[in-house]
């Protein structure tokens, strides 16, 4: 059971990293200043989780 948990936990980190990269890509692509701010704020929890800070 612990192996399954470890694998699922690792996959969640992968998902968080992929979502984080998609947000960064959107941030780079947008020309709207409000959306830039929005993407920057939304990115924070994904970065903190992937870096295992929060």
């Amino acid at each position: 059971m612990q192996t399954v948990q470890t694998v699922i936990g690792f996959l969640y980190y992968v998902i968080a990293a992929v979502i984080g990269l998609v947000i960064i890509a959107n941030f780079m692509r947008t020309r709207d200043a409000k959306k830039m701010l929005l993407y920057a704020v939304v990115l924070i929890p994904f970065v903190l989780r992937v870096l295992r800070i929060k």
Binding site: D32, A33, I44
Partner: protein, 390 residues
Amino acid sequence: MAQPKRSQLTIRLVVVALWLALVIPGGIQLAAHRNYKETIVLGPGVTEVRKLSDWAPYIEGTTNDCNIYVLDSGVPGGTMLVIGGTHPEEPAGVLSAVTIVENVVPKVGKILVAVRANKSASTVTRPGDAYPQFYTIPTDFGDRKFRMGDRWSNPLDSWPDPEVYVHYPSGQMLAYMDVRNLNRTWPGRPDGMLTERTTRAFIDLINAENVDIFIDNHEAELEYSVISTIVAHQDAADIAAMASMMLSAMEFPMGMEYSPLLLHGLSHREVGDHTDALALEIEVPEPFLDRVRGITDEALLLEGKDEFVMRAGKAGLLYEKIDENGWHIDERVGRTNSTIKMIVEMYNEFYPDRQIQFEGLPTRDEVVAYGVGRYLLNPAQVGANRVVQD
């Protein structure tokens, strides 16, 4: 609204700079809290410091491999296990355990103490609820710093949560996040999620050490009905009832409640059902936890004064009284200690062949009179081998 290309670049750079200015200092603070080492001074009664994994190898290497402080009189008798920090957002339970480690001298039998039963939950707070990260207790030699925590294990140690938490072994369905609640995962399992493994490790400890009394220190919001009370497994009901009567007659009002038979995962239910120990839980009031509270800061944590909780009390919405004096940490730690002492005295009446006797535990009147800081030892005044990090 789209911007010209040049100003777009400027805006993007400004946003990145703001983002870094926010995330780097904030991240450093969060990491410092997670990695903080709390100092515990070994009092004159501590004979050994062990790790929980000594009884349960499957917890070794995890965040929750906490210290177990052994206070062994060397005189045959009973054994008591006291755990603080089941919910690290309830600091009186933690500080009560610290005062045992730093002051108590056992005379008959053995006392085991876990100051931080759920260490993982000590490494996270609730920024969304504006929890302070640390609190300090004033002493004659300066402040002693303690880490504030949360109710649940850190998701960094146990992620993801299930959609529904199915308690083992009852099969009862509980809220998803309670798979990280140390008081919902008893009796646990060695191959479960981290918090389930932790409770199983404590069960293994209790069985291996033939623990006679198990006490779980807690605090409760005044909006919650289980407050200022001892919650007892049916096997410990006589002791809890006697302790409740004696405390209420001589020191302060303290109730007694039976552990619900059908609500699973709680320490007082499962430790009583799965071991030979008499399982009890102590609940003292903590206004900091009330949902109607105002500013959530260290002052509220330590002094327990809040005008909004008081207003709720005047409206008859609370299960415990509160006035302008609040519920100071000294009062809460003192009541926890006095309750532990009374439980042991009553236990000795019921089980004279497995006595537990000790000296030095500061009781409610002493802690209120002198402050809990009086009962915290100065790490600088003892040898390095008598100071540990927890």
